[in-house]
C-alpha cells in the first residue's frame, strides 16, 4: 500500500522534477540571462499556445484518444478571426468566432470518431488535412492582414494595465487550466473521461454514455484549441493558413512529458502544463546558450523518450 502510494507520488512529481532540472541547468549555464524576470515573462508568453492546446489535449489523451488536427485548427482560427476583422466585425465577435471554429472542429472530430467507429488517430489524421485545406481556402492561399485591434495586446509582454505583470494570455491559461483541472478531477465529465480511458467496455457496462461523452471531450478540447488560435493570431497580428504546422506534435509531447499515457486513463492538467513549460524553457535556454537548432531537436526528442522510459521504470513494468 505505502509502496504504491510512493510510486504514485513520484509519478505526480516527475514532471515537476523535470522542470526544476531544466531551470537549474540553464540557471547554472546562463546565470545572467536565463533567470531574469524579463526572460520568464517571455517564456510564459511563448508557452501559452502549446499550453492551451495541451490542457484540452489532456482530456482527449486521458479518454484514450488523440487529436492530430489541432495545429491545422489553430491556423483555421487565425484565418476566421483575421477575415472577420478585415470585414469590419468587432474584435470581440471575431475572437469568439475563432474560438467557436475550434470547438466546431472538435465536435466534428468527436462525431466522426463515435459514429463511424474509426480510430481517433485516423479520423484526426484526416481532419488535419481537411482543416488545413479549409483554412487555406478561406484565406485564398495567402496570409490575411487584419486591421490593428486590442486582440494584439492579449499576448503582449508589457501588458496594459501593467499590474497584470504577465500577458493576459498567460492569465487565461492559468485560470482555465485551474478550472479544467477541477473539471477533470471532480466533475462527472472528468470521472467518465478517466473511466472511458481506463476501460471502455467497462465504462459502457457502468452505464456511461460513452459516445456523448467523447463528443463533449473533443468539443471541449476543440474550444481550447480555438483559444490557442486566438492567442496565435494575437502574436502574429495576421491570419496565417500555414501557422502552427506540426504544432500538434509539440502539444502531444507536452502531455506525454507531463505524465499522461497514450493508452488512456492516466494524466493530469498540471502535468501537461509543466510539460509545456519544460519544452518552452528548453527551447529558450538552448537559444540563450547558443545551441544550434539541430542539437535542440535531438535534445527534445531524447527527453521525450527518456521521460517515458523513466516513467515505465517507476511503474515497475
Amino acid at each position: 500500500m505505502t509502496d504504491s502510494n510512493a510510486v504514485r507520488l513520484v509519478r505526480r512529481l516527475g514532471p515537476f522534477l523535470g522542470l526544476a532540472l531544466v531551470l537549474v541547468l540553464f540557471t547554472a549555464l546562463e546565470p545572467d540571462r536565463f533567470p531574469t524576470a524579463v526572460n520568464f515573462r517571455t517564456v510564459l508568453t511563448q508557452t501559452v499556445i502549446v499550453g492551451l492546446g495541451a490542457v484540452g489535449m489532456t482530456f482527449v489523451v486521458v479518454s484514450g484518444g488523440i487529436d492530430l488536427s489541432v495545429g491545422s485548427s489553430i491556423a483555421l482560427s487565425t484565418i476566421v478571426i483575421a477575415r472577420l476583422l478585415r470585414d469590419g466585425a468587432s474584435p470581440a465577435a471575431a475572437a469568439l468566432a475563432g474560438v467557436v471554429a475550434g470547438g466546431v472542429v472538435g465536435v466534428v472530430n468527436g462525431t466522426l470518431i463515435t459514429r463511424l467507429r474509426i480510430a481517433p488517430f485516423i479520423v484526426t489524421l484526416g481532419t488535419l488535412q481537411i482543416v488545413r485545406g479549409t483554412a487555406k481556402y478561406l484565406a485564398g492561399e495567402q496570409k490575411i492582414d487584419a486591421p490593428a485591434s486590442w486582440l494584439a495586446g492579449l499576448m503582449s509582454k508589457s501588458p496594459d494595465p501593467s499590474w497584470l505583470v504577465v500577458a493576459p494570455g498567460v492569465w487565461a491559461l492559468i485560470l482555465l487550466a485551474a478550472f479544467l483541472a477541477l473539471v477533470l478531477r471532480r466533475s462527472i465529465l472528468g470521472v467518465h473521461t478517466y473511466a472511458i480511458g481506463s476501460n471502455e467496455p467497462t465504462a459502457v457496462l457502468c452505464g456511461i454514455k460513452v459516445d456523448r461523452t467523447k463528443v463533449l471531450i473533443y468539443g471541449l478540447s476543440g474550444l481550447m484549441t480555438g483559444l490557442a488560435g486566438l492567442m496565435q493570431f494575437s502574436r502574429l497580428t495576421v491570419g496565417d493558413p500555414t501557422a502552427a504546422t506540426g504544432l500538434e506534435l509539440n502539444i502531444i509531447a507536452a502531455v506525454v512529458i507531463g505524465g499522461a499515457s497514450l493508452s488512456g486513463g492516466v494524466g493530469g492538467i498540471a502535468g501537461s502544463l509543466v510539460g509545456a513549460l519544460v519544452m518552452a524553457f528548453l527551447a529558450n535556454g538552448c537559444t540563450l546558450v547558443g545551441v544550434p537548432n539541430y542539437a535542440q531537436e535531438i535534445l527534445v526528442g531524447a527527453i521525450i523518450v527518456a521521460v517515458v522510459a523513466l516513467d515505465r521504470s517507476k511503474r515497475g513494468a
Partner: protein, 320 residues
C-alpha cells in the same frame, strides 16, 4: 540515479553545443528566414566577414521550423532577452515581425532589416536588393536580345510575395519601353515550389507555341521554366531571362539555354547589415534604405571574377 545520468548527459551536450564566446565582445544576432538555402549561407558569410573586420561576434540563428512566423518571433524575443547588442533580421512577414522588432527597439536594441521589408518605423535601416531595378534590368536585357520586337511572356511567382511583385512590376515597366514587344501573358503564377512552377510553365508553353522571350522573377520559377523548355525541346530557341542563381541555372547559362540571370548580392546584404547595425550602435547616422545592388549575368560575362563569385559564391568552411 537515472535522473542523475540524464542530467549529466544533458549538461555535457549543452556544454559541447553551446558557443564559447568571450563575454567582452559585442554580439550581433543575425536572424535569417531559414538556414538551409544557399542564399542564407551567403548572407551568413557576409555577416561573418563584417564581424571579423570589426571584432564583434555573430549569433546566427534562424527559426527552428523554416518559414514559420511564430518561430521567428521567438528567435527575436530570445535575442532580446539574451541582450545582444543589435539584431539583423530578414523578416518572414512584413506585419507579424513588426511587434517584436518594436519591442526590441523599445529595449534599446537596434534592429536592421535585410532582404524583405518590414512595416512600421522601429527598425533603423532596410538593407536589400532594389527589386524593381532588377526587374527593369531583365526587361532591358530581353528587349535588347530580341532587337526590340517579339512576343514575350512573364511567369509570375506567387500572390503576396512583395519582393517578386516588385521585380514583376519593374519588368513590365521596362518592357513597355519597347513598343515592338507584345506581352502575350503576365497573369500566370508559378507557385511556391519548383514542381508547381514546372507544371505551370508546361501549360504556358503548350498554350503559346510561338514565343520569342520569357522572364521569370525568382529561382524556383526560373528553374521550373527551364525544365519545361528542355522537356519540349525549345530550350535555347526562346530568349530566356531569369532571376537569382543556382548551380543548375549557372549551367544553363553556360549552355545558352538561359540568356540572362539577374543576380542579387546576399553576401553584401549580410555584410552591410552587420556594418549598418554597428554604425547605429556607434551613434553614426545611417541611411533608411541601403541598396545592395543587382547585376546581370550573361553567357559572355559569366566567367568574369565579379559575376562568377555571385553565380557560385565561394563560402568559407564555417558556414557550410
Amino acid at each position: 540515479m537515472r535522473l542523475g545520468t540524464i542530467l549529466a548527459v544533458l549538461a555535457l551536450l549543452l556544454a559541447a553545443c553551446g558557443d564559447s564566446k568571450s563575454p567582452s565582445k559585442r554580439v550581433i544576432a543575425v536572424i535569417p528566414k531559414g538556414t538551409t538555402h544557399e542564399f542564407w549561407k551567403s548572407i551568413h558569410a557576409g555577416a561573418l566577414k563584417a564581424a571579423a573586420e570589426t571584432g564583434v561576434d555573430i549569433a546566427w540563428k534562424g527559426p527552428p521550423k523554416e518559414d514559420d512566423r511564430d518561430e521567428q518571433i521567438k528567435v527575436v524575443e530570445d535575442s532580446v532577452t539574451r541582450r545582444v547588442a543589435a539584431i539583423v533580421l530578414a523578416p518572414l512577414d512584413e506585419a507579424a515581425l513588426a511587434t517584436p522588432v518594436a519591442e526590441a527597439a523599445k529595449d534599446k536594441i537596434p534592429v536592421v532589416v535585410i532582404d524583405s521589408d518590414l512595416k512600421g518605423d522601429a527598425h533603423a535601416s532596410f538593407v536589400a536588393t532594389d527589386n524593381e531595378k532588377g526587374g527593369a534590368m531583365a526587361a532591358e536585357r530581353l528587349g535588347t536580345l530580341l532587337g526590340g520586337k517579339g512576343r514575350v511572356l512573364m511567369l509570375r511567382y506567387q500572390v503576396g510575395s512583395a519582393s517578386t511583385e516588385k521585380r514583376e512590376r519593374g519588368f513590365l515597366a521596362g518592357i513597355a519601353k519597347f513598343p515592338g514587344i507584345t506581352m502575350v501573358s503576365d497573369n500566370q503564377y508559378a507557385g511556391a515550389t519548383a514542381e508547381a512552377a514546372y507544371a505551370a510553365a508546361e501549360n504556358l508553353l503548350q498554350r503559346f507555341p510561338e514565343l520569342d522571350g520569357i522572364f521569370c522573377p525568382n529561382e524556383s520559377a526560373t528553374f521550373g521554366m527551364l525544365r519545361a523548355l528542355t522537356s519540349v525541346g525549345r530550350n535555347g530557341k526562346v530568349k530566356f531571362v531569369g532571376f537569382d542563381a543556382s548551380a543548375k541555372l549557372a549551367e544553363a547559362l553556360k549552355t545558352g539555354d538561359i540568356h540572362g540571370l539577374v543576380l542579387q548580392n546576399p553576401f553584401r546584404m549580410g555584410y552591410l547589415g552587420v556594418k549598418t547595425a554597428l554604425a547605429v550602435l556607434d551613434g553614426k547616422p545611417v541611411e533608411r534604405r541601403i541598396d545592395t545592388g543587382v547585376a546581370m549575368a550573361t553567357p559572355d560575362n559569366m566567367t568574369t571574377p565579379d559575376i562568377a563569385e555571385l553565380l557560385n559564391p565561394k563560402l568559407p568552411e564555417n558556414v557550410r
